[in-house]
């Protein structure tokens, strides 16, 4: 058990350790775990070296894109999941199966056609291109539908009797009850959107439109051997998701448990 934890954590700790070491101490044939002295010179350099590697801009892009995707996913999939779980309409189950089936498609296969579609829409190198194609995941619909199905129908029927329209029921009754599931979906979506590498790389060519994961790669491509600085970029890219994970880890385990049970 301990060995497992060690194996998993050791590289991550090493990354942070390296990022805090002065450059001269980084390339050491006898690696030391605790940086001595601890220095923020790499981080300082990253944030001030803006011409070819706009780290601050990448950070801002990542924040904007990840938050937007998360927000849009919550809105868009919750309404869809509500329709699939509560409303009766022709072809409902077939359509739902289609959505679930797409979870099995290797996502990379869609890269080229989506790229061409985005070009046709004029969304290349734009925030629209970074955000919109990423919000139609099937996972969210699946998760939320599961949850909505478990909400007692009586609550909704009571509201309906009181004269509430469907949208009001959705907004005022079902959604607040679904807070745990929404939180789970939010955290998954956020982490996924933040860490996305391939799509942001393909849909942007302007260096100022790229997100952190792509920036990390670009930076190390030029400064391969400057491990202090490259580890610092890696650290900046990981800290938000690590923190988010630590705060919401219960949500994540529950969320995965729900997928696993169905599978």
């Amino acid at each position: 058990m301990m060995i497992g934890a060690l194996v998993m954590l050791v590289p991550v700790v090493w990354m942070f350790s390296t990022s805090l070491k002065p450059e001269s101490a980084v390339l050491d044939a006898n690696p030391k775990w605790i940086p001595n002295p601890i220095t923020l010179e790499h981080f300082y350099r990253l944030f001030t070296q803006a011409q070819d590697f706009p780290v601050l801009r990448w950070l801002a892009n990542s924040v904007f894109v990840a938050c937007s995707v998360t927000l849009l996913v919550l809105i868009v999939t919750s309404t869809a999941a509500y329709a699939f779980s509560r409303l009766k309409f022709p072809g409902r189950d077939v359509l739902f199966m289609v959505v679930i089936a797409t979870m099995m498609i290797p996502g990379q296969v869609n890269l080229i056609p989506v790229f061409l579609i985005v070009q046709k829409l004029g969304w290349f190198n734009s925030y629209f291109g970074l955000i919109v194609p990423c919000i139609a995941g099937a996972f969210g619909v699946f998760l939320l539908r599961q949850f909505f199905l478990s909400v007692p129908v009586e609550l909704e029927e009571a509201a309906f009797v009181d004269g509430a329209g469907l949208f009001t029921i959705y907004w005022r009754v079902v959604l607040p009850l679904a807070k745990p599931a929404l939180a789970t979906l939010a955290i998954f979506t956020f982490i996924g959107a933040w860490n996305d590498f391939v799509w942001p790389m393909i849909v942007t060519s302007d260096i100022s439109m790229r997100t952190l994961p792509v920036g990390v790669m670009i930076f190390q491509g030029r400064y391969v051997t400057e491990y202090g600085a490259t580890m610092a970029t890696a650290a900046i890219c990981s800290v938000p998701t690590i923190i988010a994970f630590m705060i919401f880890q219960k949500r994540i385990t529950e969320g995965i448990a729900m997928t696993g049970i169905k599978g």
């Binding site: 070009q119 829409l121 004029g122 969304w123 734009s126 629209f128 329209g165 949208f167 060519s205």
Partner: protein, 424 residues
Amino acid sequence: MRPSRRTYLLIWITICLAAVCGCGPRKTPARSKVVTLQFWNGFSGPDGTTMERIVRRFNSEHPDIKVRMQIIPWGTYYDKVTLGLAYGGAPDVFVLHCDALPRYADSSSLSGLDDLVAKGGLSEGDFMPRPWQACHWKGKQYAIPLDCHPQGLYYNVDLFKKAGIVDEHGNARPPANLKEFLADAKKLTVDTNGDGTPDQWGFVFTWLRTNYVTVLSQYGGSLLSKDSRESTLNTPQARAALDLMTDFVGKYKIAPRPEGQDAWIGFQTGKVAMALEGIYMLSSLEQQKNLHFAGAPCPMFGKQRGAWANSHFLVMPAKLSAEKRRAGWTFIKYLSDNSLEWAKGGQVPVRKSILASPAFRQLPVQYEFSKQLPYVQYVPASISINQVLPFADAAVEAALCGIKAADEALAEADRRTREVLARE
């Protein structure tokens, strides 16, 4: 309740439509008396500074044309150019390497220049034939060559003198053929501390691709057939050229295995006596203190003279307004006329008049390298050359590092090249 639902729907549809329509590519600004030209190139470092200077002078001398230069590092340059040509946002004048011309010309992305050349200002007679010819694709001309950057021999003058390889005036004498080269390199490969590994090498392989093309051309071979329709990687010439290079490492032991390390640093720090590299490496040497070097044409390893070269071509996109095309042509002519200035940054001009000028002879290394212009060898003109070159690279590297036998490596590269050519 019903009206508000419909309102929601309408609002939603409006938002979606607005989002889709509002994000098309930006429209170009309205016309004014000054024609603005977007000029793209990949010239970073000293090259870029030199070009900036030339552009600034052009702008001041031509009040009716404003050239806006954008430098995009070569790594992402061609992606940006391709996407710009495909989806909008392409520059008005830009630079292409010689080997990139075929695929852009073949897809009708470039403006044919025959009519502009016929009008005058730049005549074929003043250009070196090979670069000029390389600007043509399927009988039409699409580019004007700005320069040529051939490969040549850089040699360390101090090491040569120390080893006694001098001419009658006491100046270092670079080798002219294989025999001299091997003899010199042997003298210059020295193991000072007796640990079995030389501390000073007579020769080192830098960019394998260009080294191989040079040797191959001297053996009368080429990567592809004359019409670029067939692979000639598995021919006796190809094998002989590769065998010679592997012999440098294995048999004659005058060069180390080209594994991993940046071999050029060895020459920069005076640990290597000779290297074959392009003229564009000149600025990286001029900055080295205590390095006394000189340039010479590539030694003749095979039965004929030959040297790898590439060129920067000036091109314009096919979809260009007549006004911008005229302005672009003026700019291109200006750049070509000022290619002496450009050469100072570490390039070789291709205008005969400039090559013959005394001012050019003042640039010693460029002048030496320019002697090869009559017989420089570009990589074959093919729309698939970008796929073929990595195959050749892999074969040469595998053979030189002892991973594969040269024959096997070339056969494999040959097979893959044939497949790519069949897909054209």
